[in-house]
Symmetry: C2
Subunit: 220 residues, 2 copies
Amino acid sequence: MSSLPSPSAERPLRRDAERNRRLILDAAAEAFAEEGLHVTLDEIARRAGVGVGTVYRRFADKESLIDALFEDRIAEVVAVAEAALGHEDPWAGLVLWMDGFIGMQAADQGLKELLLSSAHGQQRVAGARDRLLPLVTAIVERAQAAGELRPDLRASDMPMLGHMLSGVADYTRCVSPDVYRRYVGIVLDGLRVRRDAASELPIPALDIDDVDAIMSTKGP
Amino acid sequence: MSSLPSPSAERPLRRDAERNRRLILDAAAEAFAEEGLHVTLDEIARRAGVGVGTVYRRFADKESLIDALFEDRIAEVVAVAEAALGHEDPWAGLVLWMDGFIGMQAADQGLKELLLSSAHGQQRVAGARDRLLPLVTAIVERAQAAGELRPDLRASDMPMLGHMLSGVADYTRCVSPDVYRRYVGIVLDGLRVRRDAASELPIPALDIDDVDAIMSTKGP
DNA sequence: CGTAACCGGAGATGCAGTCTCCGCTTATGA
DNA sequence: TCATAAGCGGAGACTGCATCTCCGGTTACG
């Protein structure tokens, strides 16, 4: 009986096929994180050490692969928002949210494109955004009620702040993958209602040579 | 004598040719500003109402066209820096510089790409950057000496701040070409050493529908 | 050891951008 | 007025890139 194929149930893959599936998933995660969603499936196959055919046998198309990969990543973003809202200090909660939100996007270009563009996986991501909005609104309003966060900020500013800051992260990554946190620091200072001095930035400025290096890498 | 062709001197174009040259230049300026340097010459020809052939007869390639167009635009950037440094109030000078620098890039994607990527017109732009660096350094240090600007900011932060803010400008332009100034305001607040309250932002936040609209336009 | 499942990667397909070519049109000045 | 050099439009050649297919050969496994 067990030898009969059971069409509706999932038949386990042959061992080599399962191994390759994992190789592909891992390579894709790495590639999307480093390069963004525009990487070709040929490149992913190359990284995984398999042929393109193998990728297409396992995933109908790029979209399916993206879906399979990011299902849980976007749940993580929601988890970060929940953790931030759970923090006892309202301002620290906001900082936690910003750091997590931006940090995840800075570490993973693919995730950023998924969260910010609705070009892929509309279903899944739209759902996550719906769960996110009330959480972020609460984080913002709580910090405002505590008199810490500038009262004119709105939850709808978040995507833009996220875009800005993960944008620098992309821009500077190749030379210094952490400088972006400098600018998160500056923006957070800009979000406070009042302060007596600028907070200490977590990272020193790049020097001019590094900036030149960045610009050189950006085009032929 | 005047009828002899003078090979080294420039022979004036026939009137229709000259008219088309202008049409192309104007169309290109508009197209580069709106879409960035990646627009195709076919698109520029279409906007100018001429054939592609006409464009290629007048400009050897895309690069030449870009050169012809942006020669004075980048000089303008230098002029803004000089004006800012000339302003009597050091902080106001910095604000002037940021507004001008970001504003020009926000109004013209092509200029932004030229200033930030060194993919095109290396010569001309590199020269402008050399003239710019001491000016910006002076603007920054003067505002710091006045005790207004946070002391840990460096001139080398400018390209990144520019990238960040003109990045949001690009992102939001299609829905509201001015919201980016909101984020300039937040960043400027983050650059001050101390303040008693958040400054008033020049533009209200977008509402969620607008944000959704932006995301929808970013890719099918 | 037979065979169904799987593999690799060459290449078909489709699309987009740059630039050329040539038959036709037009400004100009003799 | 008209001869002609200068100019025009745009189809399409060429190139490069990304997606996805196909099939001869290989491999896991009952």
